[in-house]
């Protein structure tokens, strides 16, 4: 009898273990309410999720939006792993970067939205050309809802203290370099660095693509040389903080800007909302800051900059595709854009009204140059849509790391990129 009992116990434990995963699917659904799951990152520090969801649910009482936070650092990897495991519980997906988008499309995990865009009458002309940049053979698998671009943030107090005129919206790279050198001063704890490059490849390498003559997936990278020379020169002269130190100490770019140790910093527009918030809460030493357009190469229109697109798509495995698309349409549409802009974030629909909302947000710099800086002339994607972009990025990141830590000369590094990327392209 005891033995039988033991067997029953062991078996029930086993059944429990084996089927534990299945039970959560059977959560009781409220009558008539459809729940959509939205995969995203950083719920706690992102200000626009809640108002978007609140607004949508208010207009659609029969829909409930549930957020699924997959974390920021590995978001695209996590998302792709979930979706390729056949997870049908995710309905709406946020697409963080282009290599990840490309993989999702290639792997057939996203719904082709063309039919729905046509039948629901979504006006793609509102998106300033960004939808063309993410079309694959004329098919669109996501609609942009954020369209960030790179700017130069600067610390007004440091410029005032040094008696140097603020940077302007029309700065060549040579002028930018000279200004950074002029603004560098002090020693030890009082040291002020003229500029700051975060450890991302995009913060340095992509200066090279702004003249529109090259892309980062070309397979030849000789055009990067002058920019690496400029940045490594600044690094050597102590104008910017050392890449190796920043990387091994995992220093976040926000910290150095908050504590008055850098005069200028090139960074994406996503930092505007965070900066306004942190300054308002008194968490920063920096009080007065401004924005100007990205520096440009000789002969290139000011306002030419790098961009990243964040889009929303519908999972191919979702069982509620129609409802999911309706939510995507709302968030990416004009109404969603207003809500996103109110939090200080740049939406993909970037018309005069939206710029007005961001620039008039309390805490946004009041000078006209900062406001004008939000007007962009031409944006190049950080990573254009390319079949091999994920693989190419691995090589570019590695060599960039070697160049910035002075473990390889600029010429040898460029030769290495040329060789290895061409090999990937030839495969």
């Amino acid at each position: 009898m005891k033995k039988v009992l033991t067997i029953v116990l062991v078996l029930s434990l086993l059944m429990g273990a084996v089927f534990a995963n299945g039970t959560k699917e059977a959560a009781p659904a409220q009558a008539g309410v459809t729940t959509l799951k939205w995969a995203l990152w950083d719920i706690a520090s992102t200000t626009y999720y809640e108002p978007l969801i609140t607004a949508y649910e208010a207009a659609h009482p029969d829909i409930k939006i549930e957020m699924l936070d997959l974390g920021s650092a590995d978001f695209m990897t996590m998302l792709q792993t979930q979706l390729s495991g056949g997870d049908s519980s995710i309905d709406v997906v946020t697409i963080k970067d282009i290599p990840g988008y490309n993989n999702l499309v290639k792997r057939n995990l996203l719904l082709n939205l063309n039919d729905k865009i046509a039948s629901e009458g979504v006006d793609l002309s509102l998106y300033g050309g960004t939808t063309d940049q993410i079309s694959v053979d004329g098919k669109l698998y996501g609609i942009p809802f954020r369209s960030d671009f790179w700017l130069v943030y600067y610390n007004k107090d440091l410029f005032d203290k040094a008696g140097v005129a603020y940077p302007t919206n029309d700065m060549t790279f040579a002028q930018y370099d000279a200004l950074a050198r002029k603004m560098t001063s002090g020693m030890g704890a009082d040291k002020v660095y003229g500029a700051h490059y975060h450890t991302w490849r995009s913060a340095v390498q992509l200066f090279g693509i702004l003249d529109g003559k090259h892309t980062i997936v070309d397979g030849t990278y000789d055009f990067l040389k002058p920019y690496y020379e400029m940045v490594l020169g600044e690094q050597k002269d102590g104008i910017v903080q050392d890449y190796a130190t920043l990387k091994t100490s995992s220093t976040h770019y926000s910290g150095v800007f908050y504590n008055n140790s850098v005069a200028m910093m090139n960074m994406g527009s996503w930092f505007i909302a965070t900066l306004i918030n942190q300054v308002a809460q008194g968490n920063t030493e920096v009080k007065n800051w401004g924005l100007v357009k990205y520096p440009h190469a000789e002969g290139v229109t000011p306002g030419t900059t790098l961009g990243t697109i964040t889009s929303l798509g519908v999972s191919n495995a979702s069982k509620k595709k129609d409802a999911a698309f309706d939510f995507v349409k709302f968030v990416t549409g004009p109404e969603g854009a207003q809500i996103v802009a109110k939090t200080g974030t740049i939406p993909a629909i970037k018309n005069e009204g939206v710029i007005q909302i961001i620039a008039s947000k309390p805490g946004f710099p009041t000078d006209s140059a900062s406001r004008d800086a939000l007007q962009v002339a031409k944006t190049y994607l950080e990573m254009p849509l390319h079949e091999k972009s994920a693989e190419i990025e691995v090589v570019l990141n590695q060599v960039h790391d070697e160049i910035m830590t002075n473990n390889i000369s600029i010429d040898a590094g460029i030769a290495k990129m040329n060789e290895q990327v061409q090999k990937i392209l030839a495969k």
Binding site: V10, L14, V18, K106, A244, T248, V394, Q398, D401, E402
Partner: protein, 293 residues
């Protein structure tokens, strides 16, 4: 004599006790291994239909810079980490087996790196070894060294940094195993050696080391396997950089599988890693027969 029925019942009970472990092993280890072997002969992105690749996944590895760098780095890492950890943990165990004061305190201290969260200690390690602001380089400066190593930021030092970190992290664990081994040595052997008029070194060389050979063998095999599988330490300390200076096989597998979604070639690397570990372990087992008593 027990009837056939009760015999069967007994067996069922026995199987039911093995079952939880075995089902876990089958589902989470055996099936994935078999699947990985199959995958290494296929092209698959994890979603679209698979297609037959033959041996092309393996052939391509010969011309794959990422794979070649990671293979070399994994071997260098293992060659550096295994002997160093072995010597350090044996040394620690012998010292902490003596009747010194606060013995348990020191044992705990040396075991601490093994139980401490890797994420936390790697962050601290990176601060201590920061090339321009870290206390280690400050001290080296003060001692008069004019050019100090760049540690994790220098491609010639990054692997050394990883090896030192691993030795520090693992030696406490293997020290415990050695301590158990030391306590299993019959004290009479030392008494006899004493009567023969041996000195400390001779007793260590001719009593301790031979008596510990079985333990040493175990430590050697476990360490080697652990070293070939290294990923977490590299991820936390150098992110495989600078460039590919600390790119190891498992890191390459991750990149191929989850960045490029090339599961076939990722599995091919995994098979190479498996064969490598298998060969090294077989060689070690062979050697055991000769050098263990």
């Amino acid at each position: 004599m027990p009837s056939k029925k009760s015999q069967l019942k007994k067996q069922l009970v026995a199987y039911s006790f093995i079952a939880p472990n075995f089902i876990g092993f089958a589902v989470f280890t055996m099936v994935p291994i078999i699947f990985a072997i199959a995958l290494s002969f296929l092209h698959w992105d994890g979603s679209n239909p698979m297609s037959w690749a033959g041996v092309s996944n393996f052939v391509d590895l010969f011309d794959d810079d990422q794979f070649k760098a990671s293979l070399k780095n994994t071997i260098v890492y293992s060659l550096g980490t295994v002997p160093l950890t072995l010597i350090c943990s044996l040394f620690l165990a012998v010292i902490l087996n003596q009747g010194i004061k606060a013995r348990n305190f020191f044992r705990t201290v040396s075991f601490f790196p093994y139980v401490a969260s890797l994420v936390a200690v790697a962050a601290v390690w990176n601060m201590i070894f920061n090339p321009s602001k870290g206390p280690v380089n400050m001290m080296l400066y003060k001692l008069g060294f004019s050019s100090v190593p760049g540690w994790a930021a220098d491609k010639n030092w990054a692997m050394i940094t990883i090896i030192l970190f691993s030795v520090w992290k693992y030696m406490g664990y293997y020290m415990i195993i050695y301590l158990a081994g030391l306590q299993g040595i019959n004290p009479e052997l030392y008494e006899a050696a004493n009567l023969d008029g041996t000195n400390v070194w001779q007793r260590f060389r001719f009593v301790t080391i031979p008596q510990l050979s079985a333990t040493t063998f175990f430590v050697l095999v476990m360490l080697t396997i652990q070293c070939f599988k290294v990923y977490d330490i590299v991820y936390m300390v150098t992110q495989a950089g600078p460039g590919t200076a600390t790119l190891v096989l498992v890191y390459d597998i991750y990149n191929k599988a989850f960045i490029s979604w090339n599961l076939g070639s990722a599995s091919a690397v995994a098979i190479v890693l498996f064969l490598l570990v298998l060969i090294v372990t077989l060689v070690q087992f062979n050697g055991e027969k000769r050098f263990t008593n």
